[in-house]
Point group: C2
Chain length 160, copies 2
């Protein structure tokens, strides 16, 4: 079982804010010796508490219009085919560059986060690429406007 103490948590919080902070900057902020910080980060990486370091991309590269799409697959006559339908929908969506995330939802659903330059292109993408997928029963589009929490999500997911 994973045991994190206050220092571990403080280090994680600071690195989440800015992973470019050096060992000596962290040591100064947390008022601990550099050797301690160094050791703790090493352990956090070894134990997989920190999975990896990454960058968040800025406003300009992010899609300006974003929506969540819930897709319900048709229930096939041969029930076993449902898995194939779901699998097909997920794979097809995943390879599209403007689909930022795809997850299974329940027995017969798929949720996708999609983004485009503007509302018009997003609507067209949903109508012309998603709604036409075979084996769909129902589709619900939830446009996302301002974020109140998790704002950087899009900058994290967007690809170049």
């Amino acid at each position: 079982m994973l045991q994190l103490d206050d220092l571990d948590r403080a280090i994680l919080r600071l690195l989440k804010e800015d992973a470019r902070l050096t060992i000596s900057e962290l040591a100064e902020r947390l008022n601990r010796p550099e050797s301690t910080i160094h050791f703790r980060i090493k352990k956090l990486l070894e134990k997989g508490v920190i999975e990896r370091y990454t960058i968040i991309l800025g406003e300009e590269l992010r899609p300006k219009a974003v929506a969540l799409v819930y897709i319900q697959a048709e229930t096939p006559i041969i029930e076993d085919f449902l898995e194939k339908y779901i699998h097909y929908i997920m794979k097809t969506l995943s390879i599209l560059p403007n689909v930022l995330a795809v997850a299974r939802s329940g027995r017969d659903g798929v949720v996708a986060l999609v983004g485009e330059e503007n509302e018009e292109k997003l609507e067209r993408f949903i109508n012309e690429t998603i709604k036409v997928l075979p084996t769909l029963k129902k589709i619900e589009v939830m446009p996302l406007q301002e974020f109140d929490k998790g704002r950087d999500l899009i900058g994290f997911l967007v690809r170049v």
Copy 2:
């Protein structure tokens, strides 16, 4: 307008995968002089193409049960109150630690990404904390199982 060339994009892709790569490692992989890589990264930061560096937390700290919740606010008799309702719902959700993201959706909706240790706790949280919010008209819960794309989303959003 933002102009990125192939080298910029290659640097961004590598840093997205692993932001701990050093200038000299990037230089070697991309077969360019270190000075070029250094200059490019400096520019990408200055222009805000790279917004910031962060860490992704591993499996153990992530909630095991995750769902998207779509909340539709009641339409008040005095139409102007709708903004207040929405604002109240978003603020209330945002301060909860197991709410990972909150966004406005359309005129009268809010979408939240919620996570808990297990299915049972997640259900209880949704029933006892979200469903009881006043001014709700409708709530739809979309549990999320395996991700096919954007898998690291939860490790990015989770707090310690």
